[in-house]
């Protein structure tokens, strides 16, 4: 049976991992290659790197980082952040990224999804959506949730599916950072709306939150950052509990 995936997310700036990662015995917590390998050993099914570099030089360093990670890592990884064109995608894939994730550039130019899918296949196109629930409507936001758009989550999800997206990474801005659990109701509605895999993001605080994201939210994968980076939750323990809750995982 297809296993539910656990995906740690790492922020990258100028080719280095940022946000305090707190692993014991890790010589250089800012080294993305070392961190990626450590996560693979811990049982992560996939990794997401989010490039938050603000400059062109920073992005260039990311390409080198992608190459170095691909050289060492034996599980798949996605790179997102600052991707605006088919050329950007090509550079990342050529350096060894398995998938790319686009967010605001897809909102600004939805055809970018179709262009990437046509050239490289739907399997490498993840569309990330940051949405905030306002008056019972899930509104897509840009720039880390600061800029509202006119797009509504479920319509946008349907649209990206038709354009050729291979997966949707849905972050609830209402839940992100709260450690109060994922947006399970919206997740399950999203799963009913489209027939492509959904990655849940935003709100992970406890192991039970992951159980709920899969049972109630019907998510195909769950992504989190700080609970893994600070070792609040060990992936091995998490997967053990998921398994005893009859959720298929790769142990």
């Amino acid at each position: 049976m297809l296993a539910k995936r656990i995906i740690p997310c790492l922020d990258i700036k100028n080719g280095r991992t940022v946000k305090g990662v707190n692993f014991v015995n890790l010589i250089d917590a800012g080294n993305p290659v070392e961190l990626a390998k450590r996560y693979a050993e811990k049982g992560a099914d996939e990794l997401v790197f989010l490039d938050i570099s603000a400059t062109q030089e920073g992005r260039q360093t990311t390409l080198t980082m992608v190459h170095d990670v691909a050289e060492q890592l034996n599980i798949p990884f996605t790179v997102g952040g600052g991707i605006n064109s088919v050329n950007d995608v090509e550079a990342l894939l050529k350096n060894g990224a398995d998938k790319i994730s686009i967010n605001s550039s897809a909102v600004r130019n939805p055809n970018l999804i179709a262009d990437i899918a046509r050239q490289f296949g739907s399997q490498c196109v993840v569309v990330a959506m940051d949405a905030k629930c306002i008056n019972n409507e899930w509104i897509i936001h840009l720039a880390g949730g600061t800029i509202p758009t006119r797009k509504e989550l479920f319509h946008w999800a349907k649209e990206v599916e038709l354009l050729g997206a291979g997966e949707i990474l849905f972050t609830s801005m209402n839940h992100d950072g709260t450690k109060n659990g994922f947006a399970n109701e919206a997740l399950s509605q999203l799963s009913k709306t489209v027939n492509i895999p959904i990655i849940a993001s935003g709100g992970a605080g406890t192991i039970q939150h992951f159980v709920d994201a899969f049972h109630i939210g019907k998510a195909d994968a769950a992504l989190a950052a700080s609970v893994f980076h600070f070792e609040d939750i060990e992936i091995a323990d998490l997967k053990q509990v998921l398994s005893t809750n009859n959720i298929e995982v790769r142990l």
Partner: protein, 193 residues
């Protein structure tokens, strides 16, 4: 050993090359017919859309070259699908090495099939030391039907061939280069055949 990874402009050859390197094998990336013919082993990867990938192969007259190779050949993902007789993706005639059709998953399951799934009914030396129901990483929307050339089965809505073999030709639907320790074991089995 001369190991060649076929690069015909469809997919990420780098990851495969890196994985071989991690196992201690240096691979040459090439689309040159002579280089392919002289190789001891050939890896035939592929990601993307079948009809355009097949066109690229034909454009370089590599379709005949691949079919006539006598050394061990490993097709990965789309590479394996193109080794089949026919694929529904872009109604494409394949190389016909495996007498198998490739079909689109029915919408009763989410498509693409993305993630870690199990392989079972393992046959042949490619799976030496690999436990039944091991997890491997897969990303695909089309699947090869079950046949008497099947050497591993995976279930996703249907039971399908996640590996095929005929004579010197091996095919795997999953990505051994992205399937953790299990994938490395399988790739190593091929490289040390």
């Amino acid at each position: 050993m001369k190991l060649v990874i076929l690069d015909y402009g469809a997919g990420n050859v780098k990851s495969v090359q890196f994985a071989c390197k991690r196992l201690g094998f240096d691979a040459v990336i090439s689309n040159n017919a002579e280089v392919l013919k002289r190789a001891d082993k050939v890896i035939f990867p592929g990601v993307g859309e079948a009809s355009s990938a097949m066109k690229k192969l034909k454009g370089k007259q590599l379709d005949h070259v691949i079919k006539n190779l006598e050394q061990p050949v490993l097709g990965i993902c789309l590479g394996m699908q193109l080794m089949c007789r026919y694929t529904e993706e872009g109604t494409t005639q394949g190389l016909g090495i495996f007498d198998v059709s490739v079909k689109k998953f029915a919408p009763t399951v989410k498509v693409p099939h993305i993630g870690w799934n199990t392989i079972s009914g393992l046959k042949t030396s490619l799976f030496k030391g690999v436990s039944e129901a091991s997890y491997v990483y897969l990303v695909h929307s089309f699947y090869a039907e079950k046949s008497n050339e099947t050497t591993a089965l995976t279930t996703y809505g249907v039971d399908y061939s996640s590996a095929l073999q005929k004579a010197n030709f091996f095919g795997v639907q999953f990505h051994p280069e992205k399937s953790g320790d299990v994938g490395e074991l399988i790739l190593n089995n091929f490289l040390t055949l």
